[in-house]
């Protein structure tokens, strides 16, 4: 008999949610996390759209270490001189709180503690090397030559899934799968943050930006999220385009963002309290590996579950939702005493029924839009041209907006026909 029913590799939102739900269902779960304390190696932007936590930790909005709830969400285009910004600031966010800013070292520690409370065995500071197989099915996990046995293994090890790769359960990551995330946490008094972002207590701001002024082919997005008395600010850099450029340092791009004339005043007087970096799963449907096999499932970032369409940037909710689907699947396997692939394949249909895989299919090819010259080079410049023609008084007669847009299109270095066809393609895929 195996020592555990299911071993979960990784104590982030995916692994911890799965462990909580399985332990509640009476399953003998071992959760293994390489960091000690849990969360101390994890990084995210990070806004948690936590709806999925409702049935994992019913009182999470009261008990979890949340920083602020999102009261205002902005999407902006930056050029050398300008910011063209679209902001949604609404009382609707008070009535139905949707997103919360979080810091992962705090959040993940809380989630793993909840797994322990629910009855899971938790070990931290222990690194799993491989999934152990016997006769083509999972036997447990391998750690420094020892095998801890189990009937099932859930791989929820995050954006750099070494165990899955080294066990031959997913291909190595390539340029199309990931981007480089670089972040700084900046300390500022709570009152200063409230004043600068026009917020009351507990209200938060979440902004995402296209950095339309980077050199040559380099493409990156920026983010800025308010925490209680810190600000999380960072960039997500396309690996593919950084490679094509091969002359720009990833660690310098964040400075290009925080020193931008529209961003710098928001951070003025703050002190950098932490620098961090992390891979960001960006590949969408193409990057999703086989999700199940004889005795194993893959969830969260390790499975490529994250979403970005230029307006929305999410990952933790996909992690939690896939962790839940994995917990349900393993619960069925536990009841049937059968962890074979034919039982575990229902994981896929559960994900198809939820938004996790549905979004991946509905938005397949979106990465070609979010990482495109149109979005990162042409559009920011075009918008700046239109806005400056509209708002910079020059003593000349005014023109209709449509004419200004057409002028902007003509003056861009893309062919007008190409711009229109790419624009339509973009809107369709978004």
């Amino acid at each position: 008999m195996a020592e555990f029913d299911v071993i979960v590799v990784g104590g982030g939102p995916a692994g911890a949610s799965a462990a909580i739900m399985m332990a509640k269902n009476g399953i003998n779960v071992l959760l293994v996390e390489k960091a000690d304390p849990p969360g101390s190696k994890n990084v995210s932007g990070g806004v948690l759209w936590g709806h999925d936590l409702d049935d994992v930790i019913p009182d999470w909005e009261k008990s979890a270490p949340l920083e602020r709830y999102v009261k205002a969400k902005a999407v902006g285009f930056l050029t050398n001189d300008s910011l063209v910004n679209l902001e949604f600031r609404s009382r609707l966010f008070d009535q139905k709180k949707s997103g919360y800013t979080v810091l992962r070292a705090r959040l993940d520690q809380f989630l793993v503690k909840k797994a322990k409370d629910a009855g899971a065995t938790v070990v931290t500071g222990v690194t799993v090397d491989k999934v152990a197989f016997e006769n083509g099915k999972v036997k447990g996990i391998e750690q420094d030559g020892d095998i801890i046995t189990s009937d099932g293994v859930l791989l929820a090890e995050g954006a750099n899934p070494r165990v899955a790769i080294d066990s031959g359960l997913r291909p190595p990551l390539s340029d199309r799968d990931v981007a480089i995330g670089v972040k700084q946490v900046i300390k500022l008094p709570e009152k200063t943050i409230n004043e600068r972002f026009n917020l009351r207590e507990k209200e938060g701001f979440a902004g995402e930006y296209v950095l339309g002024y980077l050199p040559d082919t380099v493409e990156a997005g920026g983010f800025l999220y308010t925490n209680k008395d810190t600000i999380s600010v960072g960039v997500v850099v396309s690996m593919k385009h950084l490679r094509e450029n091969n002359a720009t340092y990833s660690f310098n791009i964040i400075d290009e963002f925080v020193n931008h004339p529209a961003i710098a005043p928001l951070l003025e007087g703050g002190t950098v309290d932490e620098y961090s970096a992390h891979l960001v799963q960006e590949g969408g449907l193409k990057s999703i590996p086989k999700l199940f096999g004889n005795g194993y499932l893959i969830a969260g970032d390790a499975a490529g579950f994250s979403f970005s369409n230029g307006m929305v940037l999410q990952g933790m909710n996909y992690a939690i939702a896939s962790g839940k689907a994995a917990a349900q699947t393993f619960t069925e396997a536990y009841k049937r005493k059968d962890y074979s692939e034919s039982v575990l394949e229902s994981y896929r249909s559960k994900l198809m029924d939820s938004y996790v895989l549905r979004d991946m299919y509905n938005f397949s090819g979106i990465d070609e839009v979010t990482w495109s010259k149109l979005v990162h080079k042409t559009m920011p410049k075009l918008m700046e041209n239109v806005m400056s023609s509209l708002f910079l008084e020059n003593g000349k007669p005014k023109e209709h907006i449509i004419k200004l847009i057409l002028k902007g299109i003509k003056s861009s270095d893309e062919k007008p026909s190409r711009l229109v066809s790419d624009g339509v393609k973009m809107l369709r895929r978004m």
């Binding site: 960091a35 705090r106 070494r162 950084l242």
Partner: protein
């Protein structure tokens, strides 16, 4: 703020007996791009007198370099025994 000063803010429990990333100098010697030096956000890869220098002590374990290196020089393993970077915010 220089990258070196940013990295100096971090807490590490350095594993002195085990390098979780290794590179093959014979491959790096003939590398045409040294993209790792641009990609690594912790500046672990630098060129000194046009020779690649790698140090794992500043590594934040993001995994960028194993994707960045297109020439098979980088071997990447998870740190062991809770060594490596320890974020307080994350």
């Amino acid at each position: 703020m220089k990258i070196e000063d940013k990295l100096a803010l971090l807490n590490y429990k350095t594993d002195k007996s085990y390098a979780h990333i290794t590179v093959k100098p014979e491959i790096c010697e003939t590398c045409p791009d040294h993209f790792c030096t641009f990609a690594c956000p912790a500046k672990c890869y630098t060129l000194i007198d046009s020779k690649l220098n790698f140090k794992y002590e500043d590594c934040v374990e993001c995994g960028t370099c194993i994707v960045a290196c297109a020439h098979g020089s980088v071997t990447w393993t998870n740190v062991k025994g809770a060594h490596g970077v320890k974020y307080k915010y994350g």
